[in-house]
Symmetry: C2
Subunit: 348 residues, 2 copies
């Protein structure tokens, strides 16, 4: 063991590289590289010597160097509008689960519904050469905004929201089906004046759920009153304001289908503020079944996906990384209705 790179002073001095290990052991860097990655071409005994020495010297694999050489980074970039939303936070957790199980690490960026921030984000992601990207596209995103990534060789799968055109992989909800189920449930309980809370037509989920709501109302022979729609981002504020406005009407609705659980939680808070009880005084259906939904008082009736969209998106991305030539896939998961405490027959 030489003086310059003995076992005691790792951390100080020059960094430990394959060269150092190779020199120390009197073998070539190729052997060290192969040995550290467990390549069967190298003899058992050599592999052990190399790995022991690497550990002793505190060797750390340098991914910048490897990536430069192999044009692979093992990075998966994720771009969503807001991780403060439990739906996205939970999906991100699933994504991380499957990514880390596949030896990938997550680069994260959020754009807060700003198309411009999304553009800058994707631009800088590109410089890190991720092996793949999971994107929940901002309102107004066009396929050409994303093309720079795909052209650079990074497959993109869309999560939750979908651009028109582009032909990219997609994992999300079957919005029409889910919304129709929610409407049918409320109608079967006897509701006739039903409102829709939250959602923006600028994003695919908002537009599709709005349209499906109106269609389902018409299909049941009910007036599809556009004034019963209270659009907004899928946030607590939106549901809170919507329920207050809706109940101030001359002939108020007795129930609402909500764009997502967060909007429904907001509506419940609004009801409590008005001294009313969700379920008994006003029925509410959510969408997503985030963890919080079943904890609420009362627990929220909502639409749940039996297979986690985040997990599915990550798995789809890995499959595409493995085979860039495979056909684009569109996975619109049909949710099931979980009837809990926020829906009941209308009073009186």
């Amino acid at each position: 063991m030489s003086v310059e790179s003995g076992g005691k002073r790792q951390g100080a001095g020059q960094p430990v590289t394959l060269q150092i290990i190779a020199a120390e052991l009197g073998v070539s860097t190729a052997t060290v590289s192969l040995a550290l990655r467990g390549n069967p071409a190298v003899a058992e005994a050599t592999r052990e010597r190399v790995q022991a020495q690497a550990r002793a010297l505190g060797y750390v694999y340098n991914r910048s160097a490897a990536s430069l050489r192999t044009a692979k980074t093992h990075i998966i970039a994720v771009c969503v509008h807001d991780i403060t939303s439990p739906y996205f936070a939970e999906m991100l957790t699933s994504i991380e689960d499957v990514a880390s199980a596949a030896g990938r690490t997550l680069l994260l960026g959020t754009y807060g519904e700003s198309l411009e921030r999304q553009r800058r984000l994707l631009q800088s992601f590109r410089e890190y050469r991720p092996d793949g990207v999971i994107l929940c596209p901002a309102a107004g995103t066009r396929p050409e905004d994303v093309r720079m990534l795909t052209e650079a060789g990074a497959p993109v799968v869309q999560l939750s929201r979908e651009m028109v055109g582009g032909g990219l992989d997609f994992v999300g909800s079957n919005d029409a089906d889910g919304t129709a189920r929610a409407v049918a449930h409320l109608i079967s309980l006897g509701h006739r004046r039903i409102a829709y809370f939250g959602g923006k037509d600028e994003v695919s989920t908002g537009a599709q759920r709005h349209a499906a709501f109106l269609a389902a109302m018409r299909a049941h022979g009910l007036a599809a009153d556009p004034s019963a729609i209270f659009p907004g981002w899928g946030r607590r504020e939106t549901g809170l304001a919507a329920v207050e406005q809706a109940l101030a009407r001359a002939e108020p609705p007795t129930a609402a289908v909500c764009f997502n659980d967060l909007t429904a939680f907001g509506a419940m808070l609004g009801l409590y503020r008005l001294g009313k009880q969700p379920g008994r005084d006003f029925s509410l259906v959510g969408y997503d079944d985030v963890r919080e939904a079943s904890q609420w008082a009362p627990p929220l009736t909502t639409l749940a996906h039996e297979t986690d969209p985040g997990r599915a998106a990550a798995e789809l991305l890995l499959a595409r990384i493995a085979d860039p030539a495979r056909a684009a896939q569109r996975l619109a998961l049909t949710p099931v209705l979980r009837v809990r405490g926020t829906t009941a027959a209308p009073r009186a």
Copy 2:
């Protein structure tokens, strides 16, 4: 413009590098490199020609190559237990704000309170050579678990939680002060039987807030009854279970100080399930003032930090990256009490 690398077919064929741009323009790669980074040594006219050509060819900066050369990645790695918690999701958003303003990108990992997963995470972070790391250490983390990062030259700042020893930068709350304020507030309203909901002694925040609670009770001449403490992770479930157990007692408490807002939300849900009203029937104080706190029904009385800890941690990290020699800093932010609707005098 040569046939092999004309403007039309970017995306196909060989990737655009500095070499290509240089060859195209008949200058050296050194000039191109300098020009693209706006180095004043290169002539105005040359710089413009280079930048125009780079744009025309669809050049993308290769950070792996640059990082290999400069030993800087512009990556900030963030390791927290759970981004599903709004407190961490909000802090992560702040961290991203300051990171992206400083031209940094976030590598994210979560460990779900598993020390082993944290270990694996930090290990793989290290291979990406982040310029710095923000870590909310898992329960039981020891300084040597983190030393591998600092020894490899990546400064670490601890966020929210703090290890014993280690001498690392830290940004978090002044737990003792905050908790004492909460207790004093409840006592001044007339409460005497006060419980503590949530928090685990295994993590610094839990231990310090528990201890501060007992100390504050004693300081006001009240029994510091250990059975009035309902420990648990700072999650909704914990508050929900705690309030149900507490109110089932023979002489139930009339109020509780909660480890964090999430625990308080859970307690509110529990109260609603019991047909009781937060504030009127039972008083509750949270900790953190997450966005949701002011939206609740009633809005949550809680402890707020006037300067965002996430932002402060990111700024501290940038300062340390700029000057690795500066003295370690310990920033324990004293929170202020925001009195809202969940605290009132005890009934009857």
